[in-house]
Symmetry: C2
């Protein structure tokens, strides 16, 4: 997380600012994405707001993962982080599988050319129509409950087709310090570990094709220690449960949870440490899962830092001595950046004046969206050069959980453009 | 806020539950909307999830407002609360004007047949194309800054058409205790009151047609005292500012802010008290605004309680002794009900088992959506009968800031249906 020598926005209130790596700046001080100034992409897209996703940064992140993780690890991309078809189509050939969460994402995964057996479908409330679509497509259903298992078996019978199933386990441990906890204690996700043996017996009797386990313990975690511990426990649990399986698991999906830094205080994940520990752990895998594919499924970590959201300043106004830069974007496109999607405390995302990225800070300003609500803030009291309408604001970390995680129809504004560059 | 004698969901943890008024129940215990069981509407719509908006309840609320407020008050509907075209089309003939926040909402307002001079367009970041659309349509632009005023004048000249403008004022007072504060202190909305006189002089020189003032101080307020005080101050401020106007204001929009109860502890607004105080206040209006239309603009108060979101239970599962009812809906349709849209503390919306509305409570359950995220909770630990898959959950207070205020494309699920009944 090094700041470019000339960073268009300086520390606010003594706070250190940072930018995700991989972006550049023109001699004239304009932020570049994919080697070209943002103004180029905006002109090509016909205006702002615009999401840019840098394919080279996505590819570089996948290379970093391949280099750090043991060779035998299968890397999956969780489509939910960014389901833009161009993005999924770009990533699909670079990874070993795709994870989906709906029939809509199933369509995207199939269109990206991924082999169905490397597509797995998780989600606590799968409708019958979704299960049927999964059977027809031949993808793996990660079973979230005994009830879902029975529905899948019934539907497979009705359709006269085999159904592939994994068991999503709610483990008795958690991924400590996660942005979101997905395991440990009472959860709507997966099946409590102690009930899995009985479920596996029934699964075999029902004629479902057992494929493996899905043990997802948390997300957005920056601690290598916590991830290493959770991965270790997940593999131990999978081996224990595999003893009760109708056949050896083809795969063990130990989840993801690799976090990215959102604020200056966040230290980037030590990927090398995670990889080294996993490598050592895989050398002493229990016999029950010795031949299983070990899957790591990542979404945000692959695409999050590769995206920038660009929005133009429409107005600069001063109210009671405070400067507001009002943009044509807002929380309807970037809800999480506004601090209103599950966050308890609002923290600024890295935000800069993209068209004056090298300019020195001259004043403190709050950057807001165009919506008529006080919730619509993109950056609170940051240091910026004096900016007039027409300049472009860049909101970083927009590659994951951006557009599709935002209320895009709120207040009836037009859809923003998205480009993979 | 009286509970029906037989309420399908009983108090949880000693907490009192309540239902908005106007809904019924069949002898068989099914919640009715518009006089028919929810199962009827679901069948007609082809399934769940489904938003139902009860036109009779909307009409009744408008009648209540007409009865309580002084006759000379002009009642406006703020489309942003629920922009469904059928809803806006139903409301338009019952109110005196519509308030819009984008070019998209302008289209909806015009399609609803509202006379353009009774449509006013507010929003801090109006693009040139939106201002031009407003000029062409002949609606009133609520100016949010001097810069916007100059852009409007320039565009009017370019188009060779007159432009109608009101000044949105950021007053020096606030609506105390509001869900969201829109006035008082530094704000991105409107023009600080002390700068309005100079702006009005320039507005006249620029050849813009001055129409009035827009003074919006807050939203979702349940205190009659606070509303009465804010209305009083808004009228005083409007009269003071009117002295500097190029001509007497055709209207003074004193905003809205009438709240609805979301939790049992919320006491409904004393509408009669607000109406009586406003009536007395209008009897002693300053001469500068004596002939002005006095506008009250409401969104949530008109439609919020008239809507129910219906979602079917897909799975009932027990994890570590806790019961989870997993539905085919979720925060992608009802973000605010999940507690993730600007709320600091999550409170349950009124939520019931709509198909067993009269059944006695038998267990505590948490009702979640179908999304793979722990944020997706529709009701936390409420008392319900033992519910099996297929039963329908009703989330009340879904008439305002529901579907369009939610990340509908999150995780790629299909759109829910919406019906005005």
């Amino acid at each position: 997380m090094t700041a470019p020598a000339s960073s268009g926005v300086a520390p606010a209130h003594g706070e250190q600012r940072y930018w995700p790596e991989g972006f550049g700046v023109t001699p004239g001080g304009v932020l570049t994405v994919g080697g070209r100034p943002v103004t180029h992409w905006i002109e090509e897209a016909g205006g702002t707001p615009l999401f840019l996703y840098d394919s080279a940064l996505i590819a570089r992140r996948i290379e970093q993962l391949r280099a750090a993780l043991p060779e035998r690890v299968h890397l999956h991309y969780a489509i939910k982080a960014n389901p833009m078809p161009d993005v999924v189509g770009f990533i699909a050939p670079l990874v070993d599988g795709l994870d989906i969460a709906s029939a809509g994402e199933l369509e995207i995964a199939l269109s990206a050319g991924m082999e169905p057996r490397h597509i797995s479908f998780a989600g606590p409330g799968k409708r019958d129509a979704e299960l049927a679509a999964a059977i027809v497509a031949g993808v793996v259903v990660n079973l979230e409950s005994e009830g879902e298992m029975r529905r899948l078996a019934r539907l497979a019978k009705q359709l006269g087709k085999p159904a592939s199933a994994a068991v999503r386990v709610n483990p008795d441990f958690e991924l400590k310090g996660s942005g979101m906890r997905m395991g440990g204690g009472a959860k709507p996700f997966g099946v409590d570990a102690e009930r899995v043996p009985a479920m596996l017996a029934e699964l075999g009797q029902l004629g479902l094709q057992f494929e493996g386990f899905h043990i997802f313990t948390g997300s957005q975690n920056l601690s290598a220690t916590a991830l290493i511990e959770a991965q270790d426990k997940a593999l131990t649990l999978a081996a224990e449960l595999a003893r009760h399986a109708p056949r050896p698991p083809r795969f063990v999906n130990i989840g993801g949870g690799f976090g990215i830094p959102y604020a200056p205080a966040d230290k980037p994940l030590d990927l090398a440490a995670v990889g080294a520990a996993l490598s050592a752990r895989l050398d002493r895998l229990d016999v029950e899962i010795a031949d299983s594919e070990i899957i790591i499924e990542l979404g945000r970590y692959i695409v999050g830092e590769a995206g920038v959201y660009l929005t133009q300043v429409i107005d600069r106004k001063v109210s009671h001595g405070e400067v507001f830069l009002i943009t044509d974007g807002g929380l309807h496109h970037q809800l999480a950046a506004s601090g209103n999607f599950g966050q308890v405390i609002r923290r600024n995302y890295p935000v800069a004046v993209a068209t004056r990225f090298s300019a020195s800070p001259e004043e403190t300003a709050t950057i807001v969206g165009c919506l008529c609500t006080p919730l619509d803030r993109l950056a609170e009291k940051i240091q910026v050069p004096v900016v007039e309408p027409g300049e472009v604001i860049g909101v970083f970390l927009a590659g994951a959980y951006g557009l599709t995680a935002s209320p895009v129809r709120f207040l009836g504004h037009p859809e923003p453009a998205e480009r993979l560059v």
